[in-house]
């Protein structure tokens, strides 16, 4: 009888705790996060989606226009596909280049025995430079007429390209800037490389694996999650690539500002016009914030798709690592 009573009391207690717990306590503890995500993520996202269906100058009330912004985006915007192409170029070229360069630099740094700290610092230092200052300095270094880079090239008999004044060379110039500032990524990859268990390498060496085989079958699988992180953050960065593109284009064109002028956005010839740059021009210079929001929604969806695809492949990475 006593046992039955205890069990009944326990069931009631459990029921009470079930009734209280999931409804109130978690929400209470989640409240700061909920408030944060509502204010700083859900609300701006909802507003962006809402405004993308309006004509909105940011100075008066938004006027609903249905799908007009999206129809214009896909059927009439003369600059959109150029901006998409440039952003796609940065994803396809700059991200792999940056990851490979950082990996190569990190591998070299792991082999340096004396002065390792000095060289690690040297590789990391450029990433401390503010993006605007670094870009301005790069444009001066790569000035086709007066810059030291072309002067060095001329000294060895090579006529240097026009760099940021040539649509074919502006984006490669920005890739060089990105490589120069890869310090953060180098440090992360260096940490991952130093974390690879030495015994795995020793076992592979005893089994007769060459250094190339050890790199492919031991090192790469071990650092795969970190490489995935580098690619995912790189892709997100490339999708949001703005500051360096704006500064390089405007400084090289001599305007040194991004206010409306006869200069087309993304000089030279739109070669540095990225999707966020076009969004900025539409929203803040042409007072088409409704259309800019439509562009932002598309950018968000594309980012989401990219990251989803990359993360779905994560299991493959993990499998090979096992």
């Amino acid at each position: 009888m006593a046992v039955v009573t205890t069990r009944a009391t326990h069931r009631r207690a459990v029921a009470r705790s079930r009734w209280r717990g999931p409804k109130v306590a978690p929400l209470f503890f989640l409240a700061p996060w909920l408030a944060g995500i509502t204010l700083f993520f859900a609300y701006p996202l909802a507003m962006t989606v809402y405004l993308s269906f309006t004509s909105y100058t940011m100075l008066d009330r938004p006027e609903p226009v249905g799908l007009r912004n999206y129809v214009y985006m896909f059927t009439e915007d003369p600059r959109l596909w150029q901006a998409v192409g440039n952003t796609g170029w940065f994803i396809a070229v700059m991200v792999p280049a940056q990851v490979l360069f950082a990996l190569g630099a990190a591998l070299v740094l792991t082999r340096i025995k004396s002065g390792a700290g000095f060289f690690r610092t040297v590789f990391y230092l450029p990433s401390l430079a503010p993006p605007v200052a670094a870009t301005v300095a790069f444009v001066f270094l790569f000035n086709p007429a007066t810059g030291p880079v072309n002067q060095v090239l001329a000294a060895v008999g090579v006529e240097g390209p026009l760099w940021f004044s040539d649509p074919a060379w502006a984006k490669p110039g920005l890739v060089l800037l990105a490589l120069w500032g890869s310090g953060n990524l180098i440090v992360i990859l260096l940490a991952a490389l130093l974390d690879v268990p030495a015994e795995l390498h020793e076992a592979a060496a005893i089994d007769g694996a060459s250094s190339r085989q050890r790199f492919v079958h031991v090192t790469l699988p071990s650092i795969a999650p970190v490489l995935l992180f580098a690619v995912v953050t790189g892709v997100i960065g490339a999708l949001q690539y703005f500051t360096q593109a704006v500064v390089a284009g405007s400084v090289a064109s001599g305007s040194a500002d991004i206010t409306p002028s006869a200069q087309s956005p993304g000089p030279p010839e739109g070669s540095t016009l990225t999707l966020p740059y076009w969004l900025f021009v539409q929203g803040f210079q042409r007072f088409n914030m409704g259309y800019a929001c439509a562009l932002a929604v598309m950018l968000f969806l594309v980012s989401l798709a990219f990251i989803a695809v990359l993360l779905r492949r994560r299991s493959g990475f993990a499998g090979s690592a096992a």
Partner: protein, 446 residues
């Protein structure tokens, strides 16, 4: 952890209500403002302006002191270095200044059409302000579709600068008056190194080099940017193709790649390293401010100024040029709108104030009375006089305002850049497509 259904509902409801609350809180529509009641008693107002150089700030204070002497009950607190973006943000945030000055006349279309700047019409009517004292080209860029929400406060005019010494060496004693003469003189004045690189350019026709931009060439051809309905006029107005053909002919003579390299190596536009001052450019189009820059940085270049040459078939346009300038108005939500208007009216129409301000900043005064004032010291400067003449010329023109911040100019600039690099095979078809794209984008803001 899975959230229970009530928990999810609470979250979703919070999310939706926040979103709808935000929608409800977005700025209200443009209201046509009636004149605010007359100010009673002393008041302090804020005045935002973009000037920041110590001499400029001093000049602003000087003219504000004059205003205070005329209106002892109004004290003005100036806030320097405020650009158009900051003004727009302050209006959006509901905390704007009582009067604001901006360099960016491109914003007039958006500011007027949305009511971000108050309609000055009722005040102008009440105070019987004579707008005829402002030249038509200046009136054009300070209003939008008949709504005057800003007044002009000093203007920039553009004319030809020429290096007397370099011209004399080439056997010229006068600046060119037609575009053919300009091209011919350019060729004789240009010097190249053994490898063909440009060492001295007679004139740089390459758009995007300093002030060599399309809108500073178009007045010489009589081109009109927009039709009366606000759509693009590039394809219909033959003056645009005439201008582009003239310009490309000269670019081709130099070589676009040579000009690109030359342009990239030029000194900073706002320093003593400007290529005109260092003798690397013999002639150029530039604003009146350059006279002051050269003087202030101790430049030794021996130069003259004259109106831009006119198209060969439009001699009537000789003497005209491009006009642009600063705008001043009363933002929506200004706490002391009536006092703000008094400041706007004083600064934009008071002859003595305009004359002293123009003399201090080396800009062109924006009323005909100030322009003809015997007190205007600038008028006695032979290097500055041509700019005043350009300003007063009836064929001088400015850029019309549009609701999208003058995107037509941007679109044309992009097209002209491709054109000058030989990437537009059919000019007429290209201009037609450009106009179509421009007009199609206009509906985004309608």
């Amino acid at each position: 952890m899975k959230l229970s259904r009530p928990g999810f509902t609470v979250m979703f409801a919070t999310f939706l209500s926040t979103a709808f609350l935000a929608v409800a809180c977005t700025p209200g529509g443009a209201d046509r403002d009636a004149p605010a009641p007359e100010q009673k008693g002393p008041v302090t107002i804020t005045f935002w302006h973009p000037l920041k150089d110590p001499n400029e700030v001093k000049a602003v204070q000087g003219v504000l002191d004059k205003f205070h002497a005329a209106h002892p009950d109004i004290t003005v607190k100036p806030v320097p270095a405020q650009d158009a973006d900051k003004i727009t943000q302050s209006i959006r945030g509901g905390n704007p200044p009582d009067a604001a000055l901006s360099f960016n006349a491109n914003s007039v279309g958006a500011w007027c059409s949305t009511g971000a700047f108050q309609d000055l019409g009722p005040w102008i009517e009440r105070d019987k302000v004579d707008l005829e004292q402002i030249p038509a080209a200046v009136r054009a860029y300070t209003e939008f579709r008949g709504k005057r929400c800003t007044m002009p406060l000093l203007a920039d005019t553009f004319a030809l600068y020429y290096n007397k010494k370099l011209l004399a060496q080439a056997g010229y004693d006068k600046p060119p008056k037609t575009m053919s003469e300009l091209a011919e003189m350019t060729k004789r004045l240009t010097k190249r190194s053994a490898d063909g690189a440009i060492e001295v350019a007679g004139f740089v026709p390459f758009l995007g080099t300093y002030q060599s931009v399309a809108e500073h060439f178009t007045p010489s051809f009589g081109a009109k940017w927009l039709k009366p309905d606000g759509t693009a006029n590039f394809a219909e107005d033959a003056a645009f193709s005439a201008m582009l053909n003239w310009q490309k002919g000269l670019v081709d003579w130099f070589g676009a790649d040579k000009l690109t390299r030359f342009q990239a190596g030029l000194g900073d536009e706002w320093s003593a390293q400007h290529a005109f001052e260092t003798g690397k450019i013999a002639m150029m189009v530039d604003g009146e401010w350059r006279t002051s820059f050269i003087k202030n940085n101790g430049g030794k270049v021996d130069y003259g100024t004259a109106p831009m040459p006119a198209a060969d078939d439009r001699p009537d346009l000789y003497g005209a040029g491009a006009i642009g300038g600063n705008i001043i108005g009363v933002p929506k939500g200004a706490k002391h709108a009536e006092a703000g208007w008094k400041l706007v009216k004083f600064l934009s129409t008071d002859t003595a104030a305009l004359v002293s301000f123009a003399d201090a900043l080396h800009n062109v005064p924006t009323t005909l009375a100030a322009l003809r004032s015997p007190d205007l010291k600038l008028a006695k400067d032979p290097l500055f006089k041509p700019f005043l003449d350009v300003f007063a010329h009836p064929a001088s023109s400015s850029l019309p305002a549009t609701a999208d911040g003058g995107a037509y100019l941007n679109n044309f600039g992009e097209f002209a850049d491709k054109w000058q690099k030989g990437k537009v095979p059919d000019l007429a078809a290209g201009l037609k497509e450009l106009a179509r794209q421009n007009d199609s984008a206009l509906k985004l803001g309608s």
